[in-house]
Amino acid sequence: MGEKRASEKSLLSLFIVTGILFLIFAGDKITAASKITEKIYSPIRLTFGPANNLLVSDYLAKSIVTVDRKRNKILKRFKIDGMPLGIAYHKGKIFVGNATRRSVEVYLESGRMKYSFDTRVRQPNDIVIDESGGRVYVVDTFDKNVKVFSIEGNFLFRFPNSSTVHPLVNPTAVAFDKKNNFIYVSDYGDSARWIYPSVRIFDMDGNIVGEISGKLGMFGNRFSRPQGLVVDENGYVFLVDCFSGEILVFTGLTGMLVKTISGYGTEDGKMRLPLDLVIDPKSKDIFVTNNRGAKIEIFRAGGEL
């Protein structure tokens, strides 16, 4: 009798623990439903391009790859003269950060170069376009700033400027918050100077308005190597940490962590050196460049909160 009661207690405890674990981790149980691996050697950044297909910068292959989203296959690729980093798309034009030539170049969908920007960008790591404002924001990791251009490639200004008290330390990527008209910039920080990794938030003129810190408690980091990021239509920030392999989801200015997706690993749904992501606004599918995996990971409905 006593043994039976003990057994029932054990079963009940197991049920409760399982239930708690399910409640805690249910939201995180998103696996990569599929992946795109065909001939992408070193995927860096990606963006939505013509016909809502994906445009991916392939660093080692020195090319821009168009991925057919319906078939998850490469549709075409065109070579550029150098190693591509940042990429953005606007009205038939593909804006590419060329790390070799240290410039931003504009290509037609055919792959023909149309023009290049008038000011050197030494490490054009990421590009985002404010379509309504007609501005192109380019992260220059080498110069540790964001350079702002017109769509035609004329230099307008850079931020932060030398007088700002909140300079960027090691910026890597940039996103545009359409809802609030903010610019989000990932920044590694500098552990030698005890400056933690963060996401810096600026207004459209480059004035800092907020920050999501990577610091957690006395020792810990919520993230340590922040790379590509996206701000969805509700103001949630989706950020990839290329060291932990995670996608972290924050409330915008308030910086509350609400969700974590994926993590480090080689198995399905895990990533090694993820560098950038985009979210389909309708399906909420998340597409991530898994650099060391040499593929694009797809997290079906991963953008749903």
Partner: protein, 539 residues
């Protein structure tokens, strides 16, 4: 808004001291470029089993040294050609700091690991000492001792350079860690110029031409505004239009080009030069001109090097949109005027009196492309790769100046005697036109002719209002232009390159044994009106 966080906390200090107590022999002083322990070690949430374990070192390093990372020095792991031997970052580097080597020096770039002395655990040769105290200077040759692959330059019986220390298999052709194989492969060059760190150390700059040949690559862009790929940006595929490399013939000491019509490999010695002071046309120069340059610069372009990847066509083989000029046809000796590339010229007035040696006809009645153009297929600061600069782009767009006329005169008088044809020349009278040289009456650049020689000859400029005077680009090579029947020249065939930018007609004045011109915009007495053919200006 934590811009700058709390200074080193007491807790961190305790942890640091604790580590020193536990690992006193390691003696690591952290490389300042790598920040603090927490730059790489995640105390409680590392992806691996311990702080950072081997399975994640590659990713850890590449978070900064990868393409999108923040480190200036970009890198990737080492792979051999068939990817059978892969070395990770920690196989060659100790990320904590530089350590001493077996010769008593200190290695740079954190090369070597193990406590005490810098070693590398090689795939086939066990643990070996590694010496890497210098990486040399990329472009100026390097002090190769104690650098990438110095052989046994210090005579201590050890091949311990950072590149050669692992290489022992016969499949590695050069710079093995013993005396076998070749040790003369690009001695004095920095290995990572061609075997780049970002390209897995594989040869040929990660598989690209520009990876190794960046100096040549730069010739295709400003300030070198005269180069082959005009109207676009040179691409890797463009190199393959002219060059047959890469292949087994790459780096064999020869220049291997591709026959534009057949695709066959054309081999030339490196460093072909044209001696413009010599009567003798070099065999290699003629071979290059006739079997390479002229086979592309002809009516069918380069069908065998069709650059499909770059979007080229037979007559526009590069990735740019420009069409290959058909100079082969322009030089045809049956043309009424032509420069003497395919055969001797027909202008009897180019003779020992009017030409500079060695172009003074008797000894040197045939010239080459490289008597006027630089012998470089890549590019130069001079437009169209001319031997001396002429701003032909400005000329073509109608921006004329005395300096422009002077530059034309300087160029033409490389071969045509200045004393006969130049502004202040004194001889004159030996050419078909009586106003060359002495008494030029404004025909020279110094007399107000902003096109210089090209005001009357060849040229790329057509003065507004003179329609169809044949002064299209490239006609200075040769042509068959005939003046229209309504012009003062009345349908006669032009000779002596009389298709210049300022004239509207030309014909021989047989009675005087000299010539006259239609004048064009040169409305001075005795010349013929361009507006009223047949009527001479009287004032």
């Amino acid at each position: 808004m934590n811009e700058k966080n709390t200074p080193l906390s007491f807790s961190y200090l305790v942890v640091f001291i604790f580590i020193l107590i536990i690992f006193p022999s390691s003696g690591y002083a952290l490389n300042p470029d790598h920040g603090t322990c927490s730059t790489c070690h995640k105390l409680h949430a590392a992806p691996g089993q311990v702080l950072t374990n081997q399975s994640t070192v590659e990713v850890l390093c590449l978070t900064c040294h990868g393409p999108a990372g923040v480190a200036v020095n970009k890198a990737d792991i080492h792979k051999n050609l068939d990817d059978t031997i892969v070395a990770g970052c920690a196989d060659c580097h100790n990320a904590h700091n530089n350590i001493g080597n077996s010769l008593g020096g200190v290695n740079i770039k954190q090369v070597g690991h193990r406590d005490g002395t810098a070693l590398i655990r090689t795939p086939n040769s066990g643990d070996r000492n590694v010496i890497f105290e210098s990486r040399g200077t990329d472009d100026a040759g390097e002090p190769s001792l104690h650098s990438f692959a110095d052989g046994d330059e210090d005579g201590n019986g050890s091949y311990d350079g950072v590149c050669e220390v692992c290489h022992s298999l016969t499949s590695t052709k050069y710079h093995r860690n013993n005396s076998t194989g070749g040790h003369m492969h690009y001695v004095g060059e920095t290995c990572t110029r061609c075997h780049t760190h970002v390209g897995f150390f594989k040869p040929a700059g990660g598989g690209t031409c520009s990876g190794c040949h960046s100096t040549i690559w730069d010739k295709f862009s400003a300030p070198n505004n005269g180069h082959h790929v005009m109207g676009g940006t040179v691409t890797e595929e463009d190199c393959g239009v002219c060059h047959s490399e890469p292949g087994s013939n790459h780096m064999d000491g020869d220049l291997d080009l591709r026959d534009p019509d057949t695709g066959a490999i054309l081999t030339f010695p490196k460093g072909i030069t044209r001696n413009t002071s010599s009567d003798t046309l070099e065999a290699d120069v003629l071979n290059l001109q006739n079997n390479f340059c002229m086979k592309c610069h002809d009516v069918d372009g380069a069908p065998a090097t069709f650059n499909s990847t770059g979007g080229g066509t037979d007559v526009s083989p590069f990735s740019s949109s420009n069409t290959v000029p058909d100079t082969n046809s322009q030089f045809n000796t049956s043309n009424s005027y032509h420069h003497a590339v395919q055969g001797a010229g027909s202008n009897t007035y180019c003779n020992s009196t009017t030409m500079e040696p060695p172009w003074n006809q008797g000894d040197h009645d045939v010239i080459t492309c490289f008597d006027c153009h630089e012998l470089s297929g890549h590019g130069s600061a001079n437009q169209r790769m001319l031997r001396t600069a002429i701003d032909l782009d400005s000329m073509e767009s109608g921006v004329l100046s005395t300096a422009l006329g002077d530059s034309v005169e300087t160029f033409c008088t490389l071969c045509h005697k200045y004393d006969e044809y130049g502004t202040t020349g004194t001889a004159g009278g030996n050419s078909k036109f009586e106003f060359h040289g002495t008494n030029q009456n404004q025909h020279g650049s110094g007399g107000g002719n902003d096109l210089g020689c090209m005001g009357c000859h060849g040229g790329v400029y057509d003065e507004g209002g003179i329609s169809g005077n044949g002064s299209a680009r490239g006609n200075i090579h040769g042509g068959n232009y005939s003046w229209g029947s309504s012009s003062w020249a009345n349908g006669s065939s032009s000779q002596f390159f009389m298709v210049g930018g300022f004239i509207s007609g030309w014909k021989l004045n047989s009675s005087a044994g000299k010539s006259g011109c239609g004048g064009g915009t040169c409305a001075h007495p005795g010349r013929v009106s361009k507006l009223e053919p047949g009527k001479e200006y009287t004032n």
